[in-house]
């Protein structure tokens, strides 16, 4: 029998229903933005930056309001936090490019459905297509290698499997130490170990 292709589960925008990468061309990009920042922050890094800048701007304004010498204009007040905001992802996570680690995140889509994304396995020499197959089989669900235009490939697994996945990863690929596995919980990175 020919090998059965696994259906790709595409995450569609909760606001406009398009694949999120097309929201920028969709009927109302502005309305999509909160959903995008929440669900696919890596797809539009500029949005996250923008949101952080707004936050930073707010903070700067607050600072300015409380400080006694508020002579400077807005631009000067917000330029310093702006620099810092560039390096930060939502939840204050600092992006470290080179670090070898596996990051697992549960992404809620629609109302009840969710997918679990697994990023970084390839940094341990794991073939993603192979890993995707194994994950799909182990958890009896759909799993696929997904590639965002602005980021590396990751594996999307249908359903919430974040509970059992660590054990499965460390058993299947002994090269991946438990200490290198992290969860994203409420926008914060938490070590699995």
């Amino acid at each position: 029998m020919a090998e059965k292709p696994q259906p790709v589960r595409v995450l569609y925008c909760g606001t406009c229903s398009l694949p999120p990468e097309y929201c920028e061309f969709g009927p109302d990009f502005e309305k999509c933005k909160p959903w995008l920042i929440q669900n696919v922050p890596d797809l539009y890094p500029d949005l996250v930056k923008e949101a952080n800048e707004k936050e930073a701007g707010k903070a700067a304004n607050q600072l300015k309001n409380t400080s006694i010498s508020s002579g400077s204009d807005d631009g000067a007040a917000s330029s310093a936090p702006k620099q810092e905001a560039v390096k930060r992802l939502p939840g204050g996570k600092v992006k470290k490019k080179e670090k070898q680690e596996v990051v697992i995140e549960k992404v809620i889509r629609n109302k009840r459905k969710c997918i679990t994304t697994v990023k970084g396995l390839e940094l341990f020499g794991v073939k993603l297509s192979d890993a995707s197959k194994k994950l799909g089989k182990k958890f009896a669900t759909g799993a696929s290698v997904v590639k965002g235009p602005t980021e590396k490939e990751q594996i999307d697994v249908q359903g919430d499997i974040s509970y059992d996945i660590v054990e499965f990863i460390t058993e299947t690929w002994p090269d991946v130490p438990e200490t290198s596995i992290f969860f994203i919980e409420d926008g914060r990175k938490v070590p699995a170990a």
Binding site: M1, A2, E3, K4, P5, P7, V8, R9, V10, C16, S17, L18, P19, E21, Y22, F25, G26, P27, V146, K147, G148, P149
Partner: protein, 181 residues
Amino acid sequence: MFKKFSSEEVSAQNQVKASVQRKIRQSIAEEYPGLEPVLDDILPKKSPLIVAKCQNHLNLVLVNNVPLFFSIRDGPYMPTLRLLHQYPNIMKKLQVDRGAIKFVLAGANIMCPGLTSPGGALDEEVEAETPVAIMAEGKQHALAIGFTKMSAKDIKAINKGIGVDNLHYLNDGLWKMERLD
């Protein structure tokens, strides 16, 4: 084709006879050999196949109220974008440059220069009158289903006018019709 499409344009919905069902399955399998291993999942033999006849000689193939394929007159069956997204490699692909995306999403047919510019990409093997997935520069998922008016070689050589008819695109009426109840 589906710009203003809605359930109101469906004139009749019929469960087709077993023989017709077989024929539809067969022509889909022939057109998209990559779908053959999963055809039983997509069009389960036990679930009734519904063909909805719509205006403008359009037919929709539905299973469990979900539109999966469409055809025009006696033309080939083409997957809906939602189905194509699940099985992205069943169709030949042509890629438009980023600048063309907003026109395609407004329903415009695909002009040759949008395919031949640096951001575009052509599968040289694509013949005229072939169903194709329209991809876009920098994007992962198809944004439209097209039917070529000329071969990829001619698109390249002639490089003007409409190369591909845009039949179905993201956010058109068919896209919005996730189900037909």
